[in-house]
């Protein structure tokens, strides 16, 4: 029986073998695992013969929680899954509920544009975390501060519009909770003005860095066939040469009216994934600028009080508004029976929500298609034959978020 056929032991024991192979457990308490990931690796010398990621350390039962909340409340917990880009989760969820309600067309244009704007901002913020922590994994600590500075400014905007830095619950079924506050667009202009110089600095610091290039080029190569077979989406798929992006293939919320490119590479290694993400940040900023220029006026919440709360200022003066508000808050609304799959392009790939309603005011089932789970699973494939020291590079280049992997 060959050694690779034997079941992987699940303990920290280093198993003595006669042929210099040993089993090494990395994580779950390891700074470069970007969360709580355990990778049980079988190594021969310094080469990985087999790697088995063990997940579940952050399982919090979010899907179960969401089933026990109102439709209006579940958007709060789904934001906790991909905590680096909460808005893309909320986006997929509210779009799905709107499809079930059949009210997609009733969402005002301004709300749709602002949703895209905020989602693209959170994509940049998420990639900032990936870039900063990915650099730290390789010993490049300076980039981290520049990245987190940029991210902090985006989180300031989140706080300014939604009231919270990370989980604003700003996207609601039917539109947005509130219009953006006065002064938001000026702050956004400041961000746009500082973004490009900052990215030039970051690229100069990291992209051309010979040490980082040495560590990333030809490491963790993922071919297009493997990426497709393993369900990899997002930048990791596009770095393998497949230009699949939900925003282009299945446009939602008005992405079809925007002019942007899908950056792709063909090498499929960690460096290609690195470059694709950097290019994606620029594309996101170009989308933000387009929306900034063409932002429509008008309301940000649908006017139908069957699924949307009445404007706050009417509650004190209108009996009907008060009743609608009370009903909205105390028992939410009923969603017609049915099921829907609602995908969006999150920073890590296709984030999809399979929602089932039985006609009640709570979802019967909220199933997330977690992009990180499938992206991380492929580590089993790409780690084989690489050096154990490159494991952190490969994990970093796949950019998993464990709130989403474990849910």
């Amino acid at each position: 029986m060959s050694l690779t056929d034997t079941p992987m032991p699940l303990s920290m024991d280093v198993v003595e073998r006669s042929d210099n192979r040993m089993v090494l457990s990395m994580g779950p308490q390891h700074p470069s695992t970007h969360g709580v990931l355990q990778v049980i690796t079988e190594i021969e010398g310094e080469t990985v013969v087999r790697a088995e990621p063990e997940i579940g350390y952050l399982h919090t039962g979010i899907e179960k929680s969401a089933e026990n909340l109102f439709w209006t409340q579940a958007s709060t917990v789904v934001e906790r899954m991909d905590y680096l880009s909460p808005l893309s989760n909320a986006m997929a969820y509210v779009l799905g509920v709107e499809k079930l309600l059949g009210v997609t067309d009733l969402v005002p244009q301004r709300a749709q544009q602002l949703r895209i704007l905020l989602c693209e901002l959170s994509r940049i913020a998420s990639h900032c975390v990936w870039l900063g922590t990915g650099g730290i994994d390789l010993g490049a600590i300076s980039g981290f501060f520049y990245c987190f500075d940029l991210r902090e400014r985006i989180l300031d905007l989140n706080e300014f519009s939604g009231g919270a830095r990370m989980h604003p619950n700003y996207l609601r079924i039917g539109g947005l909770r509130d219009d953006i506050p006065e002064g938001f667009l000026e702050k956004l202009d400041e961000l746009i003005a500082m973004y490009y110089p900052r990215m030039r600095e970051l690229r100069a610091l990291l992209q051309k860095n010979p040490i980082l290039q040495d560590r990333m080029i030809d490491v963790g190569i993922l071919s297009a066939e493997d990426a497709i077979a393993w369900g990899v989406t997002g930048p990791s798929l596009r770095a393998a040469g497949v230009a699949y992006d939900v925003r282009k293939a299945f446009p939602y919320s008005g992405y079809e009216q925007l002019d942007f490119d899908i950056p792709t590479r063909t090498e499929g290694d960690a460096y290609a994934r690195f470059l694709v993400r950097l290019d994606e940040m620029d594309e996101s900023m170009s989308i933000i600028e387009q929306i900034r220029e063409n932002l429509a006026g008008g309301p940000v919440m649908a006017a139908d009080t069957k699924f949307a709360p009445p404007p706050k200022e009417t509650i004190a003066v209108s009996m009907e508004a008060l009743i609608h508000h009370f009903k909205y808050v105390s028992e939410s609304f009923r969603v017609p029976p049915g099921d829907v799959y609602s995908p969006v392009e999150g920073p890590r790939g296709e984030t999809g929500y399979y929602l089932v309603s039985n006609g009640d005011n709570r979802p019967w089932r909220v199933r997330t298609r977690p992009a990180s789970l499938y992206n991380l699973q492929v580590l089993k494939k790409i780690a084989v034959g690489e050096f154990i020291a490159d494991m952190v590079v490969m994990i970093g280049s796949l950019d998993p978020v464990f709130g989403e992997v474990d849910r």
Binding site: Q73, A229, G231, V242, E331, S357, L373
Partner: protein, 240 residues
Amino acid sequence: MPSSQTPPAGATAVDPTAVRPPIDDARIIRTSPEQLRAELTALKNDGFTMLLDVGGVDYLERTPRFDVVYHLLGGITTAQPERVRVLCGVDGPEPTLPTVSDLWPSANWAEREVFDLFGIRFAGHPDLRRIQMPDEWVGHPLRKDYPLRGPALERTPRPSFALKSNVAAGTPAFGKTAAALQRQIVAARSHVPNGDDSVAAAHSGSDPGAAPTAGDASTTELAAEKNAARGGQLPKDGAK
């Protein structure tokens, strides 16, 4: 006002997927466990090269009880990809489906998760272990008959002095345990041990010495009921 902790009102005997509004999100195919492999193999040969997700749904009162949902994506390298959703009903005390992890390696973890959280087995899966929950966990949390806050197996019988407290239980109990606790609390507050009238008559005066004995007695009763609850109510898991 319904609390956020109350479970959804009523299970669904109807099938939401059968009465869904016309939403253009994917082509939908419903199949049976016998046809599943053939159906998915044909789809894969038809160009649906990516298996995006495998998820489960528990409809509780419907027959078949569970749906396993396969989300497929085809024509991924073209400008117009296509989506297909394959729903497969599965039922029985040990619901089992054939694995597709040999067709798409992405199904490996997805099927493990469906097994872990719904208890649906996948015959032929190379490594069907729990993935999210601890290996020694009992029960499948996403089943609709699994309580939201867990089975509270770790609850120890409350000490007799706690029965005098006017603070209710720390961890919410459920089912028989909850009923037993409620009876205990009522009995302790009214100094009526076990709610038994004859004993109540004996101790109708305010005799403080009677309370610890009463507490012990009802604690034993609670333990007995808890054992019954463990045996009777919790889903058995023969996987480990």
